[in-house]
Amino acid sequence: MRYLPLTPDDRAEMLGVIGAASIDDLFVDVPAAARLSAPVDLPAFASELSVERSLSALAAKNRPAGAGPFFCGAGAYRHHVPASVDHIIQRSEFLTSYTPYQPEIAQGTLQVLFEFQTQVAALTGLPVANASMYDGSTACAEAVLMAHRLTKRRKAVLSGGLHPHYAETSWTLAHSAGVATTRLPAAVDNEAAVIAAIDADTACVVVQTPNVFGQVTDVTAIAQAAHAAGALLIVVTTETVSYGLLKTPGEMGADIAVAEGQSIGNGLNFGGPYVGLFACREALLRQMPGRLCGETVDAEGRRGFVLTLSTREQHIRRDKATSNICTNSGLCALAFTIHMSLLGGTGMRRLAQVNHAKARTLKAALAAVPGVEVLTGAFFNEFAVRLPKDAAGVVERLAAKDILAGVPYSRLDPRAGLDDVLLVCATETTLDEDIAALAGALKAEIAQ
């Protein structure tokens, strides 16, 4: 077998050195009743060629976003990732290394994490960022738990503009920690409702901008209301590219900012692996979940980096840890860091501008389609439209015409009663001809 270096001779000799008669001798501790005498009922080993054939056949049954008109967003975004990013993350020294617990021979990974934390801090406008979470949704849920630990309060207010998956993920973790979640009704504008929901029991307020309907909001007023009530403000962003242009969570008074970092450096991957960004105010540092990389010096005074403040983490603090997270999104964070290092502030701003411009073109095209109503006011690169028909049905029929028209809101939240709402998104990868194709097809579809 191509991945197994031992030969039959090796095995025989090694058993000899061990002093075992057969390999079974090494499994004696397994209860006899549970020992499998033969391989389980699954296909036998296969050549690389045939595995490649099987998997390529499965891949061929999917319609890649890049294969034609594509307008899906709602938490995962199609952006162009420079070829050099994927080239670097495939280097053996990054791809096949473990968590950098031995800093003397892991400076490569550690320095990258330090760069990552610095970039995330700059993007969110907050002073400290960790070395990544699984994704934006779990980062959001962990932020709620963190707020609970900090405030000792047992209620979390979730804005009606928060991505439903994020709300549900937060509910799951909050619920198990005994924290109640007040999830406000889905709405494009949420400021008033959110502020009204804040009370003395509120540990945190979770608002998203741009929100799931694409609405961009200045949450400063919410921040003030939350702080006035002694609650923390958690600002969620699913489209990291928007950081290039929009007011940062820090500028708006966020205590914690969490985001889905997939847009930078990472592909769509059908939803994972992604990379969760997590940043907060200096004062909250000790309650932060996840790994932190810090600067120090070695025995000869040379600068180096190490994982630090581990006393927050499960492997030291065990049941008192700030989170149970261990394996995180290291390689996705590396991809993020490389892509961001290529972009820089200048490129990031430009990328954001191009995204916004494409979305404006898309809006103009769709607004011109009779029967289509644009629901979102200020948007970045995605927005919501109301259709005269069930959005899911429209999306299915357009898919049959090889146009991926966007995400029906009902797919995310079937109980919201917004079956006629479609979420559409445009990025730097969107072609004007694709926009024209969508508008044309939508017009025909609605006309019927």
Binding site: L6, A44, T96, E104, T109, L245, G294, V306, I325
Partner: protein, 517 residues
């Protein structure tokens, strides 16, 4: 090491390192600054098509909503960026460089076919919310992965979405909690041995449980009498790692399951060490109710310097109904994705994360399983265990092991009794390994063993590399006993950096670069 000296007498010390360079580089070893120290504050390494930059300056729709001061981050050209990260990469150890004996981490070879497959446009470039009619191949792949995992573990159900082992533990405990609550049973305690991995107690706490520790027998297993004593109406689950973190198989695992069930609790098995028994033992036959599988261990998705991974959880019939959403079901020749569940059981746990989990890892893991097949996977377990026992056999003469009797499973555990009086600690010894080209083993874990050294070679190491490793450790052990303490307490000497000051790092944390420095 003889094998490595063919035609290569060890280099005379005297000659070495005269004339050190003034530069931050030395031969092929390049020193490297932070990206923020390389300039490029108003540069970018990403171009935009002029046509795309048409009317981008119009931000009227965003009045009052844009950043006060623009984002300040350096941007570098592709040549500079590549050089920066390629140089940094060379400061890392990696599986592709040498044996990576981290116990409990299963650092095995990562087949490159899997990387290639995961990058097919049909996998890497599909959106989680595309119409399911356009991602039938992806759903079919998830269905196949589920079939492999269920068959290998002998369990009826699997939840794929957990994003890592710890996330899987949470999934399992929340399913258990849901099952109890469905019966109106509000149990509040989880039992786990002291030897458990840190994520076990951390997860139990996150799931809202108090953790009580189970004692361990002299031979490194769960103490059944202590377990029996602590089991009771308040115990929701017993969490046991099997093979356990001492690298031993829990002989009494079926009895543990029986006692647990008898007490109305569920048996959660930490499956991080599944690599030791895959294809030879089905946890389902042992009475397990829930077990997570680290695809990034047993099924070789790369660790990537810390992640990402994936931690699917297999569930017994008793817990299957409480799985989180979403899940895939075959329907009319194709596959459907159930994202909204009706009914109490289905809604009890809810959702563990956005979308459907770690597709990129699923592709790699399935490619790995298909490549080995049922026969190859069984061989994986056998070779993993054989390699560990070989190391144990070769090193036992020189190093002390806490549980000498009987075979170990996939990892060989040593303690530090043999270092007594040498003035050398487990940490010192581990750091000296770096100087001879090996990554240290897992240290001071499990906590139940003093100065623990946990060595897991995995099945993808050749006899030759195992011998090179054992020879190196035996040579080091001899030096340690010979009193050459300086070689250890000062180690490493040959790594890119010497030992780092972790206390300083924690005392005044510097967690990001600032212009002030």
């Amino acid at each position: 090491m003889t094998m490595l000296n063919v035609g290569r007498p060890t280099r005379p010390e005297a000659l070495d390192d005269t004339h050190a360079p003034a530069a931050g580089a030395k031969g092929l070893v390049q020193d490297e600054l932070l990206i923020f120290e390389l300039g490029g504050w108003d540069k970018t390494g990403v171009d935009f098509a002029p046509e795309d930059l048409g009317d981008v300056s119009d931000l009227s729709d965003l009045t009052g909503l844009t950043r006060a001061e623009p984002l300040v981050l350096p941007g570098l050209s592709e040549p500079e960026t590549l050089r920066h990260y390629v140089r940094l990469s060379q400061q890392n150890h990696a599986i592709d460089l040498a044996l990576y004996p981290l116990g409990s981490c299963t650092m095995k070879h990562n087949p490159r076919l899997n990387e290639k497959m995961a990058r097919l446009a049909g996998f890497i470039d599909i959106h989680p919310l595309q119409p399911v009619s356009t991602v039938q191949g992806a759903l079919e792949l998830m269905d196949q992965l589920a079939r492999w995992l269920k068959t290998l573990t002998g369990m009826p159900a699997v939840a794929l979405s957990p994003k890592a082992g710890a996330h899987g533990e949470l999934c399992g405990l929340l399913a258990i909690r849901a099952a109890h609550e469905a019966r109106g049973d509000g149990r509040k305690t989880v039992l786990a041995p002291t030897s458990a991995h840190g994520t076990n107690p951390a997860t139990a706490a996150q799931a809202g449980y108090a953790v009580r520790e189970i004692a361990q027998t002299a031979d490194g297993r769960v103490d059944l009498s202590d377990l029996a004593a602590k089991l009771g109406p308040d115990v929701a689950a017993v969490m046991v790692t099997n093979p356990n973190t001492c690298g031993l198989f829990e002989r009494e695992v079926m009895e543990i399951a029986r006692l647990t069930h008898e007490a109305g609790a569920y048996f959660y098995c930490d499956g991080a060490n599944f690599n030791a028994i895959v294809g030879r033992v089905r946890p389902g036959d042992l009475g397990v109710d829930a077990m997570h599988i680290n695809l990034h261990k047993t099924f070789s998705t790369p660790h990537g310097g810390g992640g990402p991974g994936a931690g699917p959880v297999v569930l017994s019939a008793a817990l299957a109904a409480y799985a989180p959403k979403p899940w895939v079901v075959a329907s009319g020749g194709g596959f459907a994705l159930i994202e909204e569940a009706e009914g109490e059981a289905a809604e009890a746990l809810g959702r563990l994360c956005a979308f459907h989990g770690q597709m990129g890892m699923y592709v790699r893991a399935l490619a790995y399983m298909m490549s080995h097949g049922s026969d190859g996977l069984r061989q994986v377990a056998e070779d993993a265990v054989l390699n560990a026992n070989y190391i144990k056999a070769r090193l036992s003469g020189a190093m002390t092991t806490p549980f000498p009797d009987g075979p170990c499973m996939h990892e060989a555990l040593f303690d530090d009794r043999w270092l007594e009086g040498t003035g050398i600690t487990t940490l010192d010894f581990a750091k000296a390994m770096i100087d001879v080209g090996f990554h240290p083993m897992t240290m001071y874990f499990p906590l139940v063993v003093h100065g623990a050294m946990l060595i897991e070679p995995t099945e993808t190491e050749s006899r030759r590399e195992l011998d090179r490793f054992c020879d190196a450790l035996l040579e080091l052990a001899a030096a340690a006993k010979a009193g050459d303490a300086g070689r250890f307490t000062g180690a490493p000497f040959h790594a890119p950096l010497r030992r780092l000051d972790e206390t300083l790092a924690a005392r005044k944390p510097r967690l990001r670069w600032t212009a002030e420095g």
